[in-house]
Structures are given as C-alpha cells and as structure tokens.
C-alpha cells in the first residue's frame, strides 16, 4: 500500500525542469507523420 497524500498540480515547479517541451507543428499531416515516424524509430 502506498499512501499518496497530495496532488501534483501543487508542486509543478519541482518537475517542470525534467519534462521536455512538446513539439510545435503547423496544422499539416506531414509534420505529424514525421513525429510519429520519429517516435517509432
């Protein structure tokens, strides 16, 4: 049993530096396709 005592939204500063920014794309299928291919590689 793990007792989880509080919500992560309260300590965003602790993890914000460890999570990479997500990519920004134009609304084009080909740009997403490139991301999908890279994710599968």
């Amino acid at each position: 049993m793990l007792c989880i005592t509080g919500n992560g939204l309260k300590t965003l500063d602790a993890i914000s530096g460890s999570i990479a920014d997500s990519p920004i794309v134009s609304p084009k299928v080909r740009e997403v396709a490139a991301l999908v291919e890279a994710a599968g590689a």
Binding site: M1, L2, I4, T5, G6, N7, G8, K10, S18
Partner: protein
C-alpha cells in the same frame, strides 16, 4: 477524549452510510453528527499492477488522496475533524502553521464554513500552494524562515489571540482525522489489512495514526489480520525520523531542511519518536531519498497509474523503491 462505553458499528452499518470519512464517526473525537465538511474522505483505492511488478510484490494499491475533496490532499481529513471541533468548542476563528497542503485545506474549509482564518506559511513555498490558499480569501501570512519557525510562532499566536489553530491547540482533534485513511483502506480491501504500508513523513503524525486506526479496527473485531508493517519515506534533505529509525535511538536530532519536497520539510517533527517506534514495532523501516529520485518517482507514478502526485507522493514511491532494493518486501506482500 472518547467515552468509554462507545458502541461501534458493524460492517453492514458502515457500508450503509454516506461515502465520506464520517462513516467511521464513532472513532473520531466528535459526538453526534458533524455539521461541516461532511463530504471529505473516501478517496479511491487504485490497483497498480505495473508498479507491483517493479516492487516485486503480489499486489500494490495506491490510496489516492491526491484527489481529496475539497483541496486535493489528505490534510482535508484532519481539517474536517478540527473545524467541527472548533465550532463545537465555540471558537470563531481558525488557523494553522503549514508547509502548504494544510494551508489549502484550512482556507477552503473555513471559507465554506464562513469562518475567518489566519494562515501562516514559510515564505518560500511553491506558488501553486500560495495561490491555492489565497484564492479562498483567508488572512494569509508568509513568514521568513522554515516551517519550524512558523510553528513556533503559531504556538505563541494561539495563546495571544485564542484562535483555533488546527495543528497547535486543536491538534488532538486534528490528528485523529488521519485515522480515516486507515479505516478506508481496510474497508476498501474488503475488510482486511494490507501486509505493508509506505507513508510519507513530515511531522510523523500520519504514520502513527494509521497504526492506531488498524489497531482500533482489530479491537472492534472488524478485521482480524496482523498489523501491517509500516514504512516511512522522507527526503534525504530532511530526514530526522529516518535517521532515528536507523540509529535505534529515542531522541530526534533536528535538521535544517534542504529539499524540494517542502510539504515534508519539517526539521523537528512533533511525532517523530512515535513514528519511529511504530515502524520498529511493526517490523517496518524508513528510507530517505534524493530530490532527483523524488522527481523520477513522480513521473513513474504518473506513467504507470495515471496519478499525478506532488513531491511528498514522489518521496513515497521513491522510498518504496529504495526499500524494495533493500529486500524489505516480498512476493507475499499485498
């Protein structure tokens, strides 16, 4: 505090009550029906099979007070208990010393009850916790120093102004609210106790109250299992209770906290000795973990269970992983 001739409810009577912490009211320091915060408690118990595999145990459950109502931490339980006591005692103002979660809980529940609140926090708390307190409109005061400085100040303020400071002069009522997490765990497991429980430790109160709750259920004949082994988790930058467990001593050596896990950054824990005794007495232990492992554990918990916890919860999972690495858990653990 409790009448000696209490009648305890049966499993069926409890099951018929509303899904809140008050379904166990006979074990709480309150007579009759509470008037405030009646919908706090009864948070989800989540099965975590992928984490169970990582820890090498048969079954792993997460007691998820990250979604506690109203302010998203287990402190809602202790405040619900204390605020009803405050009103019953005729106190017209409540307050607290807090590392963040308690501030949120007192502010939220005082606002709902229409009570003025004075809330004191260290001046370096996470912005989300500061805003998550201020939004309810209390008198919020930031104090230069660590939590222990804030707590010392609040002891003096309780005497000076006669406020109901929930974790100072209402502490006896406040602390008992934590037991409801233990009662819920037992009921949600089908009226049995887990074999081992890992608990984050700030002041040490939660761990001691879980131990008390499991014992009270056994005394009332509602469960028959052995008491669970209790394990504590702290940040290595503030681990006075862990050090006490490791040394086998009986006296806390205070520390100056230095950790990102501010909600468990209490350098002189009021219940540290009692928590250490409970861990040793049940065959448990304690682990202190690095800030880096806390962050990694927050992400691991989210990626394997869908639960997003704060740094204290990260310490809990990081502590469990460390304890598993020491061989503290086995394939029979559930």
């Amino acid at each position: 505090m409790y009448p000696t001739a209490r009648r305890f409810p049966s499993r069926a009577e409890i099951a018929a009550r509303a899904p809140s912490m008050w379904r166990y009211r006979e074990w709480l320091p309150f007579e009759g029906t509470p008037t405030l915060s009646q919908d706090t408690g009864f948070t989800p118990l989540v099965d975590a099979p992928r984490l169970a595999d990582k820890l090498g145990v048969a079954k792993l459950w997460i007691k998820n007070d990250a979604v506690s109502h109203p302010s998203l931490s287990f402190k809602d339980r202790v405040v619900a208990s204390a605020i009803n006591a405050a009103v019953a005692l005729g106190l017209d103002t409540v307050g607290c010393a807090s590392t963040g979660n308690l501030a949120n809980a007192v502010a939220a529940q005082a606002a709902r009850a229409g009570l003025p609140a004075w809330i004191f926090i260290p001046d370096n708390l996470e912005q989300a916790k500061v805003l998550g307190t201020a939004v309810y409109g209390p008198n919020l005061v930031r104090v230069r120093g660590h939590y222990d400085d804030v707590n010392r100040l609040c002891v003096q303020l309780a005497d000076r102004f006669g406020w109901g400071i929930v974790n100072v002069n209402l502490r006896g009522y406040y602390g008992e609210g934590s037991k409801t997490m233990g009662f819920e765990i037992a009921e949600q497991l089908g009226w049995r106790l887990p074999t081992a429980v890992v608990v984050p430790m700030a002041g040490g109160s939660l761990l001691t109250k879980l131990h008390k709750a499991f014992g009270e259920l056994r005394d009332a004949g509602l469960v028959s299992d052995e008491a669970p082994r209790l394990y504590g988790a702290q940040a290595s930058g503030c681990s006075p209770i862990t050090r006490l467990v490791e040394s086998g001593g009986e006296t806390i050596v205070p520390q100056v906290p230095n950790t990102i896990a501010k909600s468990i950054a209490i350098g002189n824990p009021a219940d540290g000795v009692f928590a250490a005794r409970a861990m040793r007495g049940t065959g448990g232990w304690s682990a202190a973990v690095s800030d880096e492992s806390i962050i990694a554990a927050i992400r691991l918990l989210a990626e394997t269970t869908g639960i997003f916890t704060e740094t204290a919860g990260g310490a809990t999972l990081a502590g469990a992983l460390a304890l598993a690495g020491q061989g503290r858990f086995g394939k029979d653990d559930d």
